[in-house]
Point group: C2
């Protein structure tokens, strides 16, 4: 199992900046018990957006995903995922972590004949044109993902790609498309029915940022050879652990409470996610989305304005020791840092004794692994010297089982801290207005009034 080490948020280590952990846990034990009980009681109620808690138990979906992956095995050189936000980020983060590094640059044999994988999660015209230059669409399977079927970025991407696919392949282009969308409604579902695409379902009451373990994430992962049974096994064991209503035995509750108290009592409103592993780089991006969209809310469930809401930041060890650590040590003491450490890397890389310089002798005969771990330890202790709170999550290895545990733990932690803040962690009202403005600027029918308002603001010549 993954482990959480919260020693370095204790007042025994960092003094006044820290918490008396035992008494905090005791004080909040009843509240945590209530939160976890309610989450589990309410998870099947429609409209609660808690269906992500059931994704470890959906054996049928897993079976269908595996069947599909087996059916198309060997037929494609590339998988192209068209998705935006949560529809792309989970698959991107997990595939980057689980596939061999530099996957898309490996030759086919090194990839065990699995396809390369591309996530198009932006609408930069230069990037899309560049991607079209390198992709042989005849050998590409396109997985278009949008729950609503009307995400402007994803559908615009798909319209561009569909046009080119069809020009190349005629009616057969259909066999190159798999759509992941709502089971009944929306434009993409309608399109899939008419055109005859293979489809997968985004379950009801699973938000984008909580969708990684649904078909949204599982389909692309299975297509490149990731063991999705092991993912499911990881979620299940973690879910079992996190059903424990005793805070002393629930790491998601512990970390949620620590982050909540650090924000509200100690003004640590910035949550830094810093894995020590290049392969886990995009896990930090995924966490940032999860934390930011879930917790960045103006009002609580009662409609009252709230003061405390954290800001997440992504970092990468050891790289960012030479970028952000100066700030974390000496800047405003407003951060709590989460390290992710890997106990055992897949590779052991020795540093050979190639130079006769005393200044380098201390490296010779050691390993890159040892250096990497020493840097992580050194950074952690230095942060404590500067009285900066930090927690460490330990992954025994980078594999499907432990990564599933990690991401599921973060999801539960987010749900619990949402309840501690008493906010709705599952909506995103703050992005609606920009969507409407975009529709208005693009001339969508029904948005004429918004367009007028907007053009006034854009053309507003303010005298400063």
């Amino acid at each position: 199992m993954i482990k959480l080490d919260y020693t370095n948020v204790s007042d025994k280590i960092i003094g006044d900046e820290g918490l008396d952990i035992i008494s905090c846990f005791n004080e909040f034990a009843p509240k945590i018990r209530e939160i976890i009980t309610n989450l589990n009681m309410n998870k099947d109620k429609p409209g609660q957006w808690l269906q992500w808690m059931n994704l470890g138990y959906n054996e049928e979906t897993v079976w269908y995903v595996k069947e599909f992956a087996a059916m198309v095995d060997g037929r494609f050189d590339n998988v192209l995922v068209l998705g935006t936000g949560g529809s792309a980020l989970g698959g991107l983060a997990l595939s980057h972590a689980l596939l061999k590094p530099y996957w898309n640059l490996l030759d086919k044999e090194q990839r065990d004949s699995f396809p390369r994988i591309f996530f198009l999660d932006n609408i930069d015209p230069d990037e899309i044109s560049g991607l079209l230059d390198i992709l042989d669409l005849k050998k590409t399977l396109v997985n278009v993902i949008t729950k609503s079927g009307s995400t402007a970025e994803t559908m615009a991407q798909f319209m561009v790609i569909k046009d080119k696919l069809e020009a190349l392949l005629g009616d057969d282009y259909r066999k190159h498309v798999v759509a992941t969308t709502d089971k009944e409604t929306g434009i993409l579902r309608q399109l899939a029915n008419e055109e005859g695409y293979k489809t997968f379902v985004v379950p009801d009451d699973v938000g984008g940022r909580f969708s990684v373990f649904s078909a949204v994430g599982l389909v692309p992962l299975a297509l490149v050879g990731v063991d999705i049974d092991e993912i499911i096994r990881g979620i299940k064991i973690m879910d079992l652990n996190l059903k424990n209503t005793d805070i002393n035995n629930n790491i998601a509750a512990q970390n949620a409470l620590i982050h909540y108290l650090m924000d509200t009592k100690k003004d640590k409103y910035i949550s830094v996610m810093m894995p020590y592993s290049s392969r886990l780089k995009y896990i930090a991006d995924w966490y940032v989305q999860l934390w930011a969209e879930s917790l960045g809310k103006e009002v609580d469930r009662a409609g009252n304005k709230i003061n405390n809401r954290p800001t997440p930041i992504k970092a990468l060890g050891a790289t960012d020791q030479h970028s952000q650590i100066q700030l974390y040590n000496e800047g405003k003491n407003d951060k709590i840092i989460t390290f992710i450490r890997v106990d055992e890397f897949d590779n052991q890389l020795d540093i050979p004794n190639v130079f006769e310089f005393t200044g380098l002798n201390y490296l010779a005969g050691k390993s890159i692994n040892q250096l990497f771990n020493s840097e992580a330890d050194a950074t952690k202790v230095t942060l404590c010297d500067y009285k900066r709170p930090n927690v460490t999550i330990h992954l025994p290895k980078i594999n499907e089982y432990y990564l599933a545990q990690l991401l599921y733990m973060f999801e539960m932690q987010t749900a619990i801290i949402g309840e501690l803040y008493n906010i709705n962690a599952f909506n995103q009202p703050g992005v609606e207005q920009a969507k409407n403005y975009t529709y208005a600027l693009m001339g969508r029918f029904g948005y004429e009034e918004s367009a007028n308002q907007l053009n006034e603001k854009l053309n507003n010549k303010v005298i400063l």
Copy 2:
């Protein structure tokens, strides 16, 4: 020239969260005049770390870099840069922006026969092993970059690579190494002399994070066909503009003052850098390093503890609209967002009318470019609706000339805001302790005492 639009920090737009720009500029005009005058007066004094201001005028270095690039032209399929922090980030950011997207996946012809380029800026054993699996070292030129010659990460990487290169090539391995380091001192200089590597110089009094326009950045860029003359032209014209001591005519001073006042008067201590261009993604990383290491200081020049110091965050438009914008709109109002907008993309990508759905009709016949720009406009206006300050920097195009202007402008802005905070923007005392701890953990001679301290802390079994 690039342009700065600061309309949306005005109190005329965002009310009490904004500034009365004209009166702020007037009030600080004398201070800004003094700062810019002093920077230019002091730039050639040793120990001021202002030599980055002269990098636009070093024609000889440019000549030598171009000569070297011409000499090795066609000899290598890969350039591998070994560098840490500022030694890698500038070259990475500029090459990612200036080369065709997916450069390393293009075939040789699409790359006009220029090599692929890899920046190894971490010491993850899995990542390094993975890189060795895809790189044919026989066709690889290794550029090892460290001013001091003793950066542990970079030298450890180099020891691993040198061993493999020499095993493959024998004595000829030397022709595959180019070292960028101090002109006289340090282990790497000594090594280069003994082994006979081609070398370039990191000039004195240029810190890592201000080194992108020295040989540190220019060598890798020239090797992959970037027009470094155009870079120099961009720096020069911007330097000329930024010598203007009148704040009304100096965009670096304007943006520095705006960020300073937003932090100190309006509690906007988080600076978000959000380019709307996938190609500019790593410019945000570069900015984060520049801002964090330069401004994250505990004490001012007089040794007094200071309260205000900003935290930088990187984001990417439009992708992060679906990740962080919910938070920027509705979270704590503690951020100032800098958008970077590209007026004209290299590619125009039309959205074909492929589906007969009214729900998508508004996209058909428009372009991806238009959608991208609409999203950026919509996000900007929404932020203003939520009273969130934001500035926009306009790049006419993505090319060497304008990107050099942009980065040089950010450097000057950082120097100026450092003076406004009255801190030393050019040192990084907060990373020294972790370096010492790392040496101690790795058993470096002379660090025994530190090792004892450290092991005590690491093995400290605290009773919480």
